[in-house]
């Protein structure tokens, strides 16, 4: 049924061993990719190969293993630079994930320069990880958090954004794609508007990076944050891209090894970028696995992945709209491949358990976006989120499982 003839979903699926699993005797239909994607054998093998053949600490020893590990580690940073088209390799900082990337900017960029009555501007559809770090830094500095409202359809009210953007605004932080609604935000428009008044912008790209080509220079984003585990890579590894001019001026995030050039009790000289922000032995296997994941998605091509997932989204949206008693939460014109929904008489957690019995994995809950749930007056939603390996047949299984669920609870 795929309309992208060249897109070989069968061979992609063959790369993901976990997709062969059965759940309660039924083929796994994995639609919880917004929470975390699965890993292809290429990523698993890269990590395995590191530990079996090359592993040692990086940037320390002169022995062969340390050199091999260091080379693999440094290569991965080069791959990530190319993947997001950063101007230079040292603008790519490795973190634990999107959450740590945002906290790093909050503590090292925002905190030192914020004064009482300054403002940070975010949106109503942010993930908790793009709300709480700003609340903390506002508490620490006396600055104020401003929130751009969203429409019933789940789109940002851009007029309000332009109104809220003022000389008091010191930073805009916005999600590229909403994890709860699927909305793709017009980040390029927002960045241009913010820059016009001299305000830098952080883009939370956790939900965008696996689904669409991202070029940080074309976007002109000042900071761009994302996680490896949503990009078919390992957990516990993420990226903070930052423009050199900002990163250079920012104080280190944590103190420790690797982030220094020299240490004495009289004073310490910090290392250059990006090491200034990477204290301690890094997540070596995570970084190398992320590099393999980047290779993998680049081989398939993010344009092709986006087209495939868009096809799934259109098909699933029309299938689900046919189901009586089902309401889709988030109907933005520009959406990435996820559908949040509620049923009239079935709580999302019961939906989650019922679909699991059919082998279908979806997320049920507030998706770490409680303000979004409040906005639409629902305690939680069920969410089906798609990835490059999902098929139209799996959408059919989802739709049938939802119908069965409604039948059982009616």
């Amino acid at each position: 049924m795929s309309n992208t003839a060249q897109y070989d979903v069968v061979s992609i699926r063959n790369d993901f061993p976990i997709l062969e699993r059965e759940i309660f005797g039924k083929p796994l239909v994995y639609l919880d990719n917004g929470a975390s994607t699965q890993r292809p054998v290429q990523v698993i093998d890269a990590v395995k190969d590191l530990y079996q053949t090359h592993y040692s600490n990086v940037h320390r020893g002169v022995h062969t293993l340390s050199q091999e590990s260091s080379r693999l580690y440094d290569d991965a940073r080069v791959k990530v630079r190319g993947f997001i088209n950063a101007a230079c390799v040292h603008e790519v900082v490795f973190t634990k994930g999107t959450t740590e990337s945002i906290n790093l900017v909050a503590q090292c960029y925002a905190r030192p320069m914020l004064k009482p009555d300054d403002e940070i501007l975010i949106t109503h559809m942010e993930h908790h990880s793009n709300i709480v770090p700003w609340q903390m830094v506002c508490e620490q500095t006396g600055a104020e958090l401003k929130v751009v409202p969203i429409s019933d359809k789940g789109e940002l009210e851009l007029e309000r954004f332009h109104e809220l953007l003022s000389e008091k605004t010191k930073l805009v932080s916005v999600g590229h794609v909403s994890n709860a609604l699927g909305t793709v935000n017009p980040v390029k428009t927002m960045i241009d508007a913010a820059h016009a008044v001299g305000v830098p912008v952080l883009v939370d790209g956790a939900q965008a990076i696996p689904h669409m080509p991202v070029d940080v220079q074309k976007l002109d984003a000042d900071f761009y944050a994302f996680s490896g585990h949503k990009l078919y890579g390992p957990t516990g590894i993420g990226v903070l891209y930052g423009k050199e001019k900002f990163l250079k001026e920012m104080p280190p995030y944590q103190g420790g090894g690797d982030m220094i050039l020299s240490v004495s009790f009289e004073g310490t000289t910090y290392n250059q970028l990006p090491y200034k922000f990477e204290a301690g032995t890094p997540n070596i296997a995570g970084v190398i696995g992320l590099g393999a994941a980047v290779d993998y998605v680049q081989k398939i091509g993010l344009g092709a992945i986006a087209a495939h997932e868009h096809g799934l989204l259109v098909y699933a949206s029309s299938k689900l709209r046919e189901i009586k008693g089902l309401r889709i939460i988030g109907e933005a014109d520009q959406k990435a491949g996820l559908i949040s929904f509620v049923l009239d008489n079935v709580h999302p957690h019961d939906i989650g358990t019922m679909l699991d019995a059919e082998g279908v994995a979806v997320r049920a809950g507030h998706h770490c976006a409680q303000p979004v749930m409040e906005r639409y007056n629902v305690p939680a939603t069920a969410r089906a989120s798609f990835a490059m390996y999902n098929t139209y047949e799996e959408i059919d299984v989802l739709a049938e499982a939802i119908k069965k669920t409604i039948g059982m609870f009616s």
Partner: protein, 154 residues
Amino acid sequence: MDNLRELYQEVILDHNKNPRNFRKIEEPDGFAHGNNPLCGDQIDIYIKIRDGIIEDVSFEGNGCAICTSSASMMTTALKGKSEADAEALFNSFHHALTEDAEHPEDVPLGKLAVLKGVKDYPVRVKCATLAWHTFDAALKKLQGEAAQDEVTTE
């Protein structure tokens, strides 16, 4: 989905669709609020006591089928019981779902036994026990004991 019949038994689905004692009690003797923020399950429990006997107990809130039906069945089971008997039933129910040694199974569960199937779904045990823990807090408060304002089983 047939394997879920143990979890979602007819009587559970019925209590979910038509919850009993789903109302507020004006000027209750005991009250507590239960909240499982990760689930989004929220429950208010109201108690009316006369001469140490639970004269009326009711709930309001929003939760999944397991949470709602457990709260509904709890209210029907507790009406007319003494405070001590109510505590004993709470212990038994808790023990049946969690085998927690702190809560010995002293009294038979009666109709509540249909909820035993929840034990096989560990992530849902917190749904079934929220109403009970909230009731326990409401009872403790009216007995003058320290209890949390907001109860959670997450």
